[in-house]
């Protein structure tokens, strides 16, 4: 393992952008392309937003974000202790949302899957949800030190 991080933040909407910056800064140690960084930021944004909106329904709760850097990849876990997901299979379908009245598009998981190399969702009703994601970072000539 090259490096790891663990971040705990409350489920406030202003922490969505904070979480994106933190994971992007951490991932930058693998010298990713701007495109890889922006894909990681987008996926993190989706998972953290889901914890804020769905898991805790705008009530106060804790979000835990773990990151691990390996030679060629970043592994990210985003955990909440919120309401959990009834059916993960349904939740992952494009356009499926339980909050259409809040103008949710139901595309969060679809975007995570599109932008990351692996997305795993573990959830238990009334216990919480963990989203595990992996992004492969492709090697380039490293001109910096």
């Amino acid at each position: 393992m090259k490096n790891f991080m663990k971040l705990e933040i409350p489920s406030k909407s202003q922490n969505e952008s904070f979480a994106r910056v933190v994971v992007a800064a951490f991932a930058s140690q693998l010298d990713p392309t701007l495109e890889e960084i922006s894909e990681i930021k987008t996926a993190v944004s989706e998972a953290v937003t889901n914890a804020v909106i769905h898991a805790y329904m705008d009530k106060a709760g804790l979000i835990v974000i773990k990151g691990v850097l390996l030679e060629d990849r970043i592994e990210i876990e985003i955990m909440d202790s919120g309401v959990g997901i009834e059916s993960v299979e349904k939740a992952r379908e494009p356009l499926y949302t339980t909050l259409p009245e809040m103008e949710r598009s139901g595309m969060g998981f679809t975007i995570m899957e599109k932008f990351m190399d692996k997305v795993e969702v573990l959830s238990e009703k009334n216990k919480g949800t963990t989203v595990k994601m992996v992004k492969i970072i492709h090697k380039k000539e490293n001109l910096r030190n």
């Binding site: 909106i53 103008e103 975007i111």
Partner: protein, 111 residues
């Protein structure tokens, strides 16, 4: 995010600068609503040339405005998407329901 909203006749021009996520999309929705409440207008053109990040909350708020304005016979269009925004726009299927252009003139000419 900085949201600049101007209306002229039947068109609202909203310029978004920064990041459109769940946190900031609420302010965007509210600012459009303020204009719709006070002025006779039905089309929304969104300038994304200085928007450097959007996630699916952005898709939701844009679709929400489309549904709202369609009822009045209006349209929603966007122009000037940067690469991350364009990728999310396509991934979310917005390209099938929202016309998008490179430049402001093209959008306005197609109203």
């Amino acid at each position: 995010m900085i949201i600049d909203i101007r209306s002229s006749g039947e068109m609202i021009l909203a310029s978004l600068e920064g990041e459109l996520d769940h946190h900031t999309s609420q302010a965007f929705k509210a600012k459009v609503q303020t204009i719709l409440d006070t002025e006779e207008t039905k089309n929304l053109v969104i300038d994304m040339s200085r928007l450097y990040f959007m996630d699916s909350s952005g898709i939701g708020v844009i679709l929400g405005r489309l549904n709202q304005l369609k009822k009045k016979g209006g349209k929603v269009m966007v122009f000037g998407m940067q690469s991350q925004v364009k990728k999310v726009f396509y991934a979310g299927g917005l390209d099938k329901v929202i016309p998008y252009y490179e430049k402001e003139e093209e959008a306005v000419n197609n109203l």
